[in-house]
């Protein structure tokens, strides 16, 4: 991994230890029912663990010190997300401590930051971003409308899927204040409370046992001081937030890939077939070596992107797309090979391989799919 400073190394070690103790893969299992789907009463995360994360300061890692955070930077947050990814730990950390906090850092004015960041930093509030309105990530193709009525905005529409939407009490949601679906102009971001009148949310039962939500907004009234950034000019802000959320997700995916790979290597070293440890078969050895190479590319791309964000570099978008697409492809392959190389047992719900496979496909779609980020990288690089 990248060369870490002492602070980062400590944080990483602590995260690794805590995740191993408190959120091993068995913790995720408690969100699944015995038939392999999500438990109908599950909320998609463990509030007790969330409180512990907050107590360790993880929720405030990119929050400025003035607002109750430690301002350690995205690299540090990435290290934690990577460790959480190893055990597929389900928590709103990415949605809230990265997504919502980033939106306020980049788009909020001083008053707005002081109003919301302290709560997000200490974990008493859970935020998430709500930009999507359909099967595919396309932040400009939205129809949710916000119209000005006196000093207030009236918002109508549906946002889905909203990651950790059942856990959140603050939504950073996009709506169209002018223009047509597809236009970059006319997008505006609003901070909306979960208990706002006219807002309802329904859980989505997803294969990874998380609980994203579908939000329905019916004549929701929003005060004008809840607009983040400039009215109608939200497209660049949305891009910047999505860049960072995608890199955070890529960090989680890097951790999941690394653990799926490690678990599979352990199996190759112990399972015996045809009188030999199967890890001694050259065809499997070469497949493992190739996957290890992919894992190296992923780690480098993720770390480069995290560093670029902390450095406020000019090419964050291209590096974010590189990180997300590379992590997407690697986790895709490794999770599929995790099932394949475990053979029959890997097909059972009882084994962890399926959990990695399912989370992989969800993560691949989040904040822009692998295909979307490849296409964006291509566009940014003149292909």
């Amino acid at each position: 991994m990248a060369v870490l400073n002492d602070e980062q190394q400590m944080l990483k070690d602590m995260a690794a230890e805590w995740v191993r103790d408190r959120m091993p893969i068995t913790a995720l299992r408690s969100l699944y029912d015995h038939g392999g789907g999500g438990r109908s009463d599950a909320i998609g995360y463990d509030p007790e663990c969330w409180a512990e994360m907050a107590a360790m300061g993880w929720t405030g890692i990119i929050v400025p010190e003035a607002h109750g955070g430690s301002d350690f930077g995205y690299q540090s947050l990435g290290l934690i997300l990577e460790e959480l990814g190893r055990t597929l730990a389900a928590s709103p950390l990415l949605s809230s401590a990265l997504g919502a906090v980033t939106a306020l850092r980049l788009g909020g004015d001083a008053v707005q930051q002081e109003r919301w960041l302290p709560g997000l930093a200490d974990g008493s509030a859970i935020g998430t971003i709500a930009f999507e309105e359909g099967a595919h990530f396309a932040p400009e193709r939205i129809a949710t409308s916000a119209t000005l009525s006196g000093d207030q905005w009236i918002v109508n529409g549906r946002k889905h899927p909203v990651q950790d939407g059942m856990a959140a009490n603050i939504f950073i949601a996009s709506a169209r204040t002018s223009g047509q679906p597809g236009d970059r102009d006319g997008l505006t971001l609003f901070v909306i409370d979960a208990d706002a009148a006219g807002l309802t949310r329904d859980p989505l039962d997803q294969i990874d046992a998380r609980r994203p939500a579908a939000l329905t907004l019916k004549d929701v009234t929003i005060a004008s001081d809840r607009v983040l950034g400039e009215v109608g000019k939200g497209a660049d802000l949305i891009d910047a937030i999505v860049d960072r959320a995608a890199v955070g997700m890529a960090a989680e995916m890097l951790g999941a890939s690394a653990q799926a790979f490690d678990t599979t290597m352990d199996y190759l070293k112990t399972r015996v077939q045809f009188g030999a440890i199967i890890g001694s078969f050259q065809a499997l050895q070469h497949r493992a070596a190739d996957l290890f190479g992919e894992l190296q590319l992923t780690q480098s791309a993720v770390e480069d992107a995290l560093i670029a964000i902390d450095d406020d570099a000019a090419d964050i978008s291209a590096l974010a797309s590189l990180a997300k697409a590379t992590a997407g492809e690697t986790l895709h392959r490794i999770s599929a090979q995790m099932v394949q190389l475990h053979g029959g047992i890997g097909m059972t719900h009882e084994h962890d391989a399926g959990l990695y496979l399912k989370r992989a496909r969800v993560a691949e779609q989040c904040y822009g799919s692998t295909a979307w980020h490849r296409d964006r990288w291509a566009r940014l690089n003149g292909y």
């Binding site: 015995h34 038939g35 392999g36 789907g37 999500g38 999507e132 359909g134 099967a135 595919h136 990530f137 889905h160 899927p161 329904d202 859980p203 989505l204 039962d205 997803q206 294969i207 990874d208 579908a214 015996v272 077939q273 045809f274 009188g275 078969f281 065809a283 499997l284 895709h332 599929a336 099932v339 394949q340 053979g343 029959g344 890997g346 097909m347 059972t348 719900h349 009882e350 391989a353 399926g354 496979l357 399912k358 496909r361 969800v362 691949e364 779609q365 799919s369 692998t370 295909a371 979307w372 490849r374 296409d375 291509a378």
Partner: protein, 393 residues
């Protein structure tokens, strides 16, 4: 193929066409054939299905080439093929088709004694005795011959103890054909082929939950199960060659399975939109869908070619190759289908996802088994390398 048909075959075709038209219940048109034991209850609840099964049983056309005393119709291979073609032409299916007809039946015809044939084949031919396959064990997956389930000769009966796994529909099956170890001093040479009544005392079948949610496969525990001496097929310790033959029937039946596939392109336009040039509006995903579509088209051509070559007595060495091509292409297609559905391809249950979407998601998960069961991708490639390509051991 019809035009060059001999006149007696042509006559039989017309006869078959007429009988099928008269007897196949219209309500079952284009219903997929029921293959697995797990479909038993659904089938039993359907009166037309029961009627269709009874008619085919009486006619002997579920296993047309078997002799009448075994429940068949004593027809030629050509006539059997004609029945299949005419059935397909009207959107029908063979209600008798089962593990029994495809795998155990042909095996018993070759290796069973007359008593075993008379005891089992007619029940298979009427689809009234359902079979499961007791081959794999927890420590013997790809390396089947390392199986451990003990079978001891107690003089007047066999005593069986051990565990099987990946037994399709064991919880619904009436009987099990199993490989058991009758000699621990040799590997392949210590295996026997045994028929076991699943109602015997000491048997417990526990369904396994798969990643797709399916509970079709079971673990089966055998605890001092008594099996009559006459239930051993062939010679003691000669079960391995019987099993290999049976697995050949299994592979043949697998390669028969039509990879019936809806093209992805229209769905992709629906989910991803169309760009200004009329293309699916997602260049990277589109490129991968195109390649998968082309591979699938070439694969279907290969299935047809192999079938024609086999019919003409050509080599049938391609089964392992075909299986790996098939699993690779279908698995990739499953991935592409949920990918084009985006967030809608990620649901497990609930109205937020259309039924077709949830089905696609389950099918994608299920497809991961294609390169594991029935000889894994790795085992098939070993077979191709050694047997087809003649590469050294």
């Amino acid at each position: 193929m019809v035009e060059s048909e001999a006149s007696e075959d042509r006559d039989f075709r017309l006869e078959a066409r007429a009988w099928l038209k008269a007897n196949f219940p219209a309500s079952l048109t284009n219903v997929p054939g029921l293959l697995f034991q797990g479909d038993r209850h659904a089938a039993e609840a359907n009166a037309d299905y029961q009627l269709w099964r009874a008619r085919m049983t009486d006619k002997g056309w579920g296993v047309p080439t078997w002799e009448p005393r075994y429940g068949g119709a004593g027809l030629s291979a050509t006539q059997a093929k004609i029945i299949g073609e005419e059935l397909t032409a009207i959107g029908g299916f063979n209600p008798i088709r089962s593990y029994g007809t495809m795998m155990l039946g042909p095996t018993l015809l070759e290796y069973g004694d007359e008593a075993q044939k008379l005891e089992h084949l007619p029940w298979i031919a009427s689809h009234e005795r359902r079979w499961c396959q007791g081959f794999s064990e927890p420590g013997a997956g790809s390396d089947l011959a390392s199986l451990q389930m003990r079978c001891t000769d107690m003089g007047d009966h066999w005593l069986v103890s051990g565990q099987k796994i990946w037994t399709s529909g064991a919880d619904q099956a009436d009987w099990c054909f199993a490989l058991v170890r009758t000699d621990t001093s040799r590997k392949q040479g210590g295996i026997s082929f045994l028929l076991i009544d699943m109602q015997s005392e000491g048997i417990e079948a526990r369904p396994i939950v798969l990643i797709s949610g399916s509970t079709h496969f079971c673990e089966v525990f055998f605890n001092d199960v008594k099996v009559p001496k006459g239930n051993l097929v062939g010679q003691v310790n000669h079960g391995w060659s019987i099993a290999k033959r049976l697995l050949q029937f299994e592979r043949n039946s697998l390669s028969e399975v039509k990879a019936d596939i809806t093209p992805l392109a229209p769905m992709a336009h629906d989910y991803l939109g169309t760009d200004a040039l009329g293309r699916i509006d997602s260049p990277d995903l589109r490129a991968r869908m195109v390649r998968n579509g082309m591979r699938h088209a070439a694969y279907m051509a290969t299935v047809r070619r192999f079938a024609q070559e086999a019919k003409n007595g050509g080599p049938s060495h391609g089964v392992s190759t075909l299986k790996n091509l098939w699993s690779g292409i279908i698995q990739e297609r499953g991935e592409l289908l949920i990918e084009l559905m985006g967030a809608n391809g990620l649901g497990w249950s609930g109205d937020a996802y259309a039924e077709a979407e949830r089905e696609a998601t389950r099918a994608w998960l299920h497809s991961k088994a294609f390169s594991i069961y029935g000889g894994s991708y790795e085992v098939q490639n070993n077979i191709t390398a050694k047997h087809t390509l003649g590469l050294p051991g």
